[in-house]
Amino acid sequence: MSSAKKITESDLDHVAHLARLNLTDAEKTTFLPQLESVLEYLDKLNTVDTASIDPSFQITPLKNVFRQDVVKNSLTQAESLSSASKTKDGYFVVPATIKK
């Protein structure tokens, strides 16, 4: 087994950024060894040969569950906006995505 760490601080920064999660320094200090021990545990999966096995991404026999393309009642615009943090004229309001 490699003695190199499975997750370094820079790995953690990268992954946290991908997941859009701010982490405080205290959180990073707490999480790093915890994540390390979990990731090490997950190495168990390498003890089994799965070369000829198909993956199960879900465990039902269902595939392509369709319905008729018919408009049905759904939430009203007012209902859909009712839990938003910020709305204006029937829109959800978010900080600017494109800088002028």
Binding site: I7, L42, T50, S56, I59, S83
Partner: protein, 487 residues
């Protein structure tokens, strides 16, 4: 009138016979909640006003001679990850504090349509991520058998409310054991149905290929009543099954115990299992053997990989499902962010509890470029092996009997700083979720500290009738399920 162990059908009979009114039933439970819940803390929200209103509707129906739903008069406690229209739904997390859903979960709605009365939303580990209810963003629930102990999790609030008779029945979800384990730690009956048996619509998604809504009850009989109402295909959930829904209550005596082949998987009785727990579970097998069942030793060699498969796949699915919590359409948010990226980083960073972050990080890591094959794809392949092992075993046995938790309830705070140790609590439950099979947890005794011990009956796909019948007949031969804590 003492309703603490009154069944769903008995309550309905009392209403029809006009021996009690629905408002009195609600008063009975509200009084108990006021008296006992300050110590237990099973509820995040008690829906006193709504329950009284719903009770009056039922009483008016009775007065007008109108027909009553199948669950009329039964009071339900619902895990706070089930959306309940107009009633605060927090998912046990600060992320959804003050979120009032615009629609309801299908499972909840089907029960309301049968005149079940909502008494409150129960505490849960945040978004159901946990095994002890200590990861709730609000407070920890206390095990009614010993208030310094955890109730188990993630549906700990529902399990505790059920055993303390703060409700007639309760709803939970089981993704890796979160109904069966708290049921066993609290000494109540709990069912995880087959994946796809109950609709997941309107329940905050944790791991979409694992989540199973189910219920807690004082008896298998009540769980059968609830399943009959909730089960069945839902057009809002594309993964819900079209397999016919049995009349579960009518089939409770259908299985012949004499000659029933019960498999005991050897991997579930070795390793970390507490000796007292092991003995109580083997005693349960003995009850079946005395009744004429055939106990057959079986082997599920890939059991040891279950936790690893589970804790790769569920964080991966979690990391996708949690992406929606950005505070824009719902949930708390940071209003002072200077741009969109900062807004996402700060909103998610500020309000998400540590366990949410841990699992999102593990999942994002395992799905990221360079790691996908080694983790996610590998785990999905081992999932096939675990599933096939069960399918092969069900060719030799009718049901599988196993422990649920390797230990009884443990002290609050003991494992909070050790996530991996918490994860290992799922060792006997998670393989059933990996395979998507149904599992029924039943009380089977107490350890030397008077803490409950449970066992589970695992059935083949959509064979809920079989495990419910076997479980019901166990409850006719024993009375562990009728024991209640001194509060």
């Amino acid at each position: 009138m003492d309703l603490s162990l009154t069944t769903i059908s008995q309550i309905r009979q009392l209403l029809l016979a006009k021996k009690i009114k629905a408002v009195d039933i609600v008063k009975y439970y509200l009084d108990r909640i006021k008296k006992y819940d300050p110590q237990i803390q099973s509820f995040i929200t008690v829906t006193e006003k709504e329950a009284k209103k719903q009770a009056k509707v039922i009483d008016d129906k009775i007065t007008a001679g109108q027909s009553l739903g199948a669950l009329a008069g039964s009071v339900m406690a619902v895990k706070d990850i089930f959306l309940t229209k107009g009633i605060e739904t927090t998912a046990g997390s600060k992320v959804l504090k003050s979120y009032f859903p615009e629609y309801s979960s299908t499972v909840y709605q089907r029960l309301v349509d049968q005149d079940a009365i909502l008494i409150g939303k129960t505490n849960t580990d945040c978004f159901a991520f946990g095994v002890s209810t200590e990861n709730s963003g609000y407070f920890t629930t206390h095990n009614p058998w010993n208030l310094s102990m955890v109730p188990g999790g993630s549906s700990g609030g529902s399990a505790a409310a059920e055993v303390a008779s703060l409700c007639t029945f309760a709803l939970g979800t089981d993704t890796g054991g979160s109904i069966r384990q708290p049921a066993s730690l609290c000494g109540v009956t709990g069912l995880k149905p087959t994946y796809g048996r109950n609709s997941r619509y309107g329940i905050t998604s944790m791991a979409s290929s694992f989540d199973c809504p189910g219920s807690f009850g004082h008896s298998v009989e009540d769980i059968a009543q609830v399943l009959k109402i909730t089960a069945g295909q839902d057009s809002f959930d594309a993964t819900s099954s079209q397999v016919k829904v049995d009349d579960y209550p009518a089939l409770l005596s259908s299985v012949k115990l004499s000659g029933l082949k019960i498999g005991l998987p050897k991997e579930y009785f070795t390793g970390s299992i507490n000796p007292e727990v092991k003995q109580k579970v083997l005693d349960a097998a003995k009850v079946y053997e005395t009744a004429g069942a055939q106990i057959i030793d079986v082997s599920l060699p890939n059991t040891d990989l279950g936790i690893a498969v589970y804790y790769v796949l569920i964080p991966c699915e979690i990391s996708a499902n949690m992406a929606r919590y950005d505070g824009i359409r719902f949930g708390q948010s940071r209003s002072d962010a200077k741009d969109l990226l900062s807004y996402y980083l700060q909103t998610r960073g500020d309000f998400m509890e540590p366990e949410l972050k841990r699992r999102i990080l593990i999942g994002t890591y395992a799905l990221s470029a360079g790691y996908f094959d080694a983790y996610y794809l590998k785990a999905a392949k081992v999932r096939t092996l675990i599933k096939n092992e069960f399918i092969a075993t069900f060719k030799k046995v009718d049901v599988i009997l196993a422990p649920v938790s390797p230990t009884p309830a443990w002290p609050i705070g003991q494992k909070v700083n050790n996530p991996l140790e918490m994860y290992l609590a799922d060792v006997y439950t998670c393989c059933i979720n990996v395979a998507g099979l149904p599992g029924l947890a039943l009380p089977c005794g107490f350890d030397s500290q008077n803490l409950p011990v449970g066992f589970q009956l695992i059935g083949n796909y959509f064979e809920e009738s079989k495990i419910l019948s076997a479980g019901h007949q166990y409850q006719e031969l024993t009375d562990f399920h009728l024991q209640t804590p001194k509060l």
